[in-house]
């Protein structure tokens, strides 16, 4: 996304003064209208916490997997609507199933991440569902707007998406053979740059009045917003995952909440200090754990009750 936008806006800005009559730059071209119209919301999307972290390599596998799930539902919906409208005059020139379609690739990625039973393990999140609903609505009632959704996702996948692929591969140590990243791999496209040029030429082939072009730009902005909602949702989920990590697991060790049995320093120290200190540490660890606390309290209550009964 970023590269594509940077290229087109750079040339749009550097072109010099606009002439009278037919503009030398033809701002009527849908490809340019879309690029210009989504520039602002594109920057916003790039600056969401989720994306910023992702680009820095800070992406936890659990979130990446959930992201792939959201993408699966999104592309399933989009490609279903594209199939429905493949001969519609407002979409036909952009019909590139072999080159672009991602649903099968995403299914393979999800199988890699969740196992052969992945379909029963994944579900559509609320934010993704809103996105999916809009896509179906558009595909069934106003197919020309499907162009905006296809543009937003596919062009992005072929631009910044390629950068994300490499970041993800390193950050999560995914195999170099490409499993888990098939979404980002367009086997049918040798040069992303050339394909994008072809795609733009096809967008500009569509016969559209001014009003429709405006609606297309507005819908593309909406598409970005749907994507940002999914990012934000992932970010929220990310926070709860963090808490679980800190709460779960016994015994806890240090402010970081790590598993003490894995700490080499600790085990060395314990070996030196002898067993009693360990028991004490363990007791303290148990009591810091909320479940441990419940158990202790219950145990205390039970003991008290039993003692009371016994001594009566």
């Amino acid at each position: 996304m970023s590269a594509d936008k940077m290229a087109t806006t750079a040339s749009a800005n550097g072109a010099g003064p606009v002439n009278e009559g037919k503009d030398t730059l033809s701002p009527e071209d849908l490809s340019e209208l879309l690029a210009a119209g989504t520039k602002e919301v594109h920057e916003k999307a790039e600056n969401t916490q989720f994306v910023k972290d992702f680009l820095k390599g800070r992406i936890r596998k659990e979130l990446f997997k959930l992201g792939a799930v959201a993408l699966y539902y999104t592309y399933t919906a989009m490609e279903e609507e594209i199939e429905r409208n493949k001969d519609h005059p407002h979409f036909a020139p952009l019909y590139f199933p072999t080159e672009l379609h991602r649903r099968e690739a995403l299914a393979r990625d999800l199988e890699y991440f969740y196992g052969p039973d992945w379909q029963s393990e994944v579900s559509c999140s609320p934010a993704a569902q809103r996105y999916v609903d809009r896509i179906h609505e558009v595909g069934q009632e106003d197919p020309v707007l499907l162009v905006s959704h296809a543009y937003t996702r596919y062009m992005g996948d072929l631009s910044g998406g390629q950068v994300l692929k490499k970041v993800a591969q390193r950050a999560m140590k995914l195999p170099p053979t490409g499993e888990g990243l098939e979404f980002y791999t367009f086997d049918g496209i040798h040069s992303a740059k050339e394909f994008k040029q072809l795609y733009r030429s096809r967008m500009n082939v569509l016969v559209l009045d001014e009003d429709t072009k405006k609606r297309l730009v507005a819908e593309a902005v909406k598409a970005f917003q749907f994507n940002m909602e999914v990012f934000d949702e992932l970010e929220e989920i990310g926070k709860t995952i963090q808490e679980d990590v800190l709460d779960a697991g016994m015994p806890v060790h240090g402010a970081m909440g790590g598993d003490i049995s894995k700490c080499p320093y600790y085990s060395a120290k314990m070996a030196a200090a002898g067993g009693s200190e360990y028991a004490c540490q363990l007791a303290m660890a148990v009591l810091r754990h909320p479940t441990g606390q419940v158990l202790c309290a219950a145990l205390a209550a039970a003991l008290a009750g039993f003692a009371a009964w016994y001594l009566m």
Partner: protein
């Protein structure tokens, strides 16, 4: 602590209260006590569950949570551990760090000791004193982040570099490898800055800045740079490779004596026997063996050989579009392979495997194994291109004549004399590995090491010269055979073009076949058939346009309304290399080609090329481009022709569009971005 005791105390208290009231009437009933202890338990639980939210640890804190006694002087650390090479890394996602680690490990191969270091953890000002260590070298693996910024861990280093003006870094030997991505505007800004700044401050650059492009192939860029880098380091320090002068091999040779030939590769790219049992889908690992049905010479005279080759893809289920590329897997000339075997004194038909010594590596073998040397040198290895300097460096040890060895080492170093020698003796003289062995009789490497060093033989790509609408079962290739005399009096032959030329159509049962697959391109006729089409393709650049013209003709026959179709073709002499003359004139007659413009460059005194013809019809062209939505296609030579054509079109836009130079340039660039100006060009 407190709470624990309280809980224990409560339990104890509850237990202890009992005996004290044992003699009297129980003050509390059983139930009361049970309820009481339950309440206490619940209170305890509630109190302890009110823990403060744990702060989510920032990644950075982990980094800086270091024990106080940590060494921040890298010079001290190097002295203590006997290292002379330090590799600093500016890394965000870990790649720069990985490269730094690999480089520091490399050092020992060359008799030196290296360590990787995070600039954030050390006092970088010590760079001024690195010369205290003998034969010291600082390598920098610097990634660029965002808008030309340093990575987080290199921020301080960057600030320091900017602030110090009077620091004298003479005595510091350094080199930089930059990691970046060409799709970003400030490509490799950080690496470039460090390289330049250190020089400004007086440090000595001992090897060229390496530029890695993550949009292309960062790993490859790194490996190529590193291959040239180490030999030049050794040269610079006058250091010999470690131990007994033998370099460390990557692969181990295993000879097979009793292997069933069914298990031996005979040229397949992927699956064994994939050439015998053909199964779709066909791709680079599983090419289709297409029979050659036509192989004719296109030119009528002259010393070159232009050919038209047709491949039959019936039954393969292969589909293509005009404008796509056909990839073919050529083989090396068998005479050349035999000569190599003779000069190295080996039996080429021994069955061998080369197994990777690094068991962790994904690349088990350098080429499909087990196989014979003959197959490897014929199908899998490139023996025609001039060997790269790292190959020369590794082979140098096998030159028994010390002068030969010295020359080999010199040519692989980065000293100016070395570079010049390589440039003239290898590149300028067009010496391939066989020529080098012939001209350096004392150089006799073992054949297995040579096979480890030679690069893989690549598939060649040709623009398809037919239309699948008209010829769905046939793929046409238009190519010129490469053959030239070298300064040493040898004749160098292009691998693929000579191989194709010899794929003759035979009358007897045995068919010549070509292992091929299709690589889709985005070079496409316009979606709307009414769009005018301007095709510019001199020489063999006409190839895809033969397909385009066939397709436009087919569309017309289908009753579709077809826009203007213009061709600008160029060749040397009308009577010699006007290829496809009959087909083109026929198309013009039928009105499929609305304009046929040919530039015969040498038929008159002054040279006439396609760009001149463009200027001749500039008004018509401008109308088509600016008002009629024409699509422009350029195919052929990238270096000169494509640039000249682009300039000519910019001139037309400037003149007839009333634009400034800048506007015209942008106008043409815009046409490219919008997919109305496509190029299929090669160097």
């Amino acid at each position: 602590m407190q709470r624990v005791n309280m809980a224990d105390m409560d339990a104890d208290t509850a237990a202890h209260t009992e005996p004290s009231v044992e003699e009297e009437e129980p003050f509390f009933s059983n139930l009361d006590l049970l309820l009481f202890s339950l309440i206490v338990g619940l209170v305890v639980y509630w109190y302890m569950s009110r823990k403060k939210p744990e702060p989510i640890p920032e990644f950075k804190k982990l980094d800086t949570a270091a024990p106080a006694a940590r060494e921040t002087s890298f010079i001290e650390k190097m002295k203590k551990t006997g290292k002379n090479i330090i590799v600093f890394y500016g890394s965000q996602t870990g790649t720069g760090e990985e490269f730094a680690n690999r480089l520091s490990k490399d050092a020992q191969r060359y008799g030196m000791k290296g360590m990787a270091a995070d600039p954030e953890e050390y006092e970088m000002a010590e760079l001024a004193r690195l010369s205290q260590i003998e034969n010291s070298l600082a390598i920098f693996c610097m990634a660029t982040y965002g808008e030309g910024d340093p990575t987080d861990n290199a921020q301080d280093f960057y600030d320091w570099l900017q602030e110090i003006d009077d620091e004298d870094l003479s005595g510091l030997n350094y080199t930089v490898f930059a990691l970046g991505n060409k799709t970003y505007e400030h490509y490799n800004a950080m690496g470039k800055y460090v390289d330049k700044r250190l020089e400004e401050l007086g440090a000595k650059r001992i090897f060229d800045l390496g530029l890695g492009d993550d949009d292309g192939n960062l790993e490859e860029d790194f490996v190529s740079w590193r291959e040239q880098f180490w030999p030049s380091v050794c040269e610079h320090f006058g250091v010999e490779a470690s131990g007994d002068d033998s370099s460390i091999r990557q692969y181990e040779l295993k000879e097979h004596t009793d292997l069933n030939m069914n298990k031996v590769y005979s040229g397949e790219m992927g699956r064994l026997k994939s050439f015998e049992v053909q199964k779709p889908p066909y791709d680079s690992k599983n090419p289709f063996l297409a029979p050659v049905t036509v192989n004719r010479k296109l030119n009528k005279a002259g010393d070159r050989h232009l050919m038209h080759v047709e491949l039959d893809i019936t039954g393969s289920k292969i589909r293509y579009d005009s404008g796509d590329h056909v990839a073919v897997f050529p083989t090396n000339d068998s005479a050349m392979v035999n000569k190599l075997g003779q000069i190295l004194g080996v039996d080429l038909d021994v069955v061998i495997s080369l197994n990777n010594l690094d068991e962790e590596s994904n690349k088990k073998h350098p080429f499909p194994c087990p196989t014979t040397y003959r197959t490897a040198l014929t199908h899998y290895l490139d023996i025609s291109q001039p060997p790269r300097t790292n190959v020369l460096y590794e082979l140098a040890q096998y030159a028994s004549d010390p002068k030969d060895q010295e020359n080999m080492r010199r040519m692989s170093s980065s000293s100016p004399e070395g570079k010049a020698l390589y440039h003239s003796w290898v590149q300028g003289a067009c010496r391939n590995i066989l020529a080098i062995l012939e001209d350096m009789p004392s150089l006799r490497p073992p054949v297995d090491h040579l096979c480890e060093l030679l690069p893989r033989l690549q598939a060649r790509y040709y623009s398809i010269a037919s239309s699948s609408k008209v010829h769905p079962d046939r793929i046409s290739i238009c190519a010129v055979v490469v053959e030239y005399e070298t300064p040493t009096g040898r004749t160098n032959k292009g691998v693929a073009t000579n191989w194709l030329k010899n794929k003759l159509v035979t009358d007897n049962g045995h068919k010549s076949t070509v292992p091929m697959f299709i690589r889709k391109s985005q070079f496409r006729l316009p979606f709307k058939t009414t769009n005018p089409v301007i095709m510019i393709g001199p020489g063999t650049g006409i190839a895809p346009f033969m397909g385009f013209i066939q397709e436009r003709g087919w569309l017309k026959e289908q009753g579709k309304e077809v826009g203007e179709t213009l061709l600008y073709f160029g060749c040397r002499y009308k009577n010699e290399d006007y290829i496809y003359q009959e087909e083109l004139e026929e198309a013009e007659k039928k009105g499929v080609l609305t304009q046929l413009n040919i530039a015969f460059s040498r038929d008159q005194e002054q040279k006439v090329y396609v760009q001149h013809l463009l200027k001749n019809s500039k008004e018509h062209l401008w109308k088509l481009i600016h008002s009629d939505n024409a699509h422009i296609y350029v195919c052929g030579d990238a270096k000169n022709m494509a640039k000249d054509v682009q300039t000519a079109l910019q001139d037309i836009a400037e003149e007839l569009g009333g634009m400034t130079r800048t506007q015209a340039t942008d106008y043409v660039k815009k046409l490219m971005t919008k997919g109305r100006y496509s190029q299929d060009v090669w160097t």
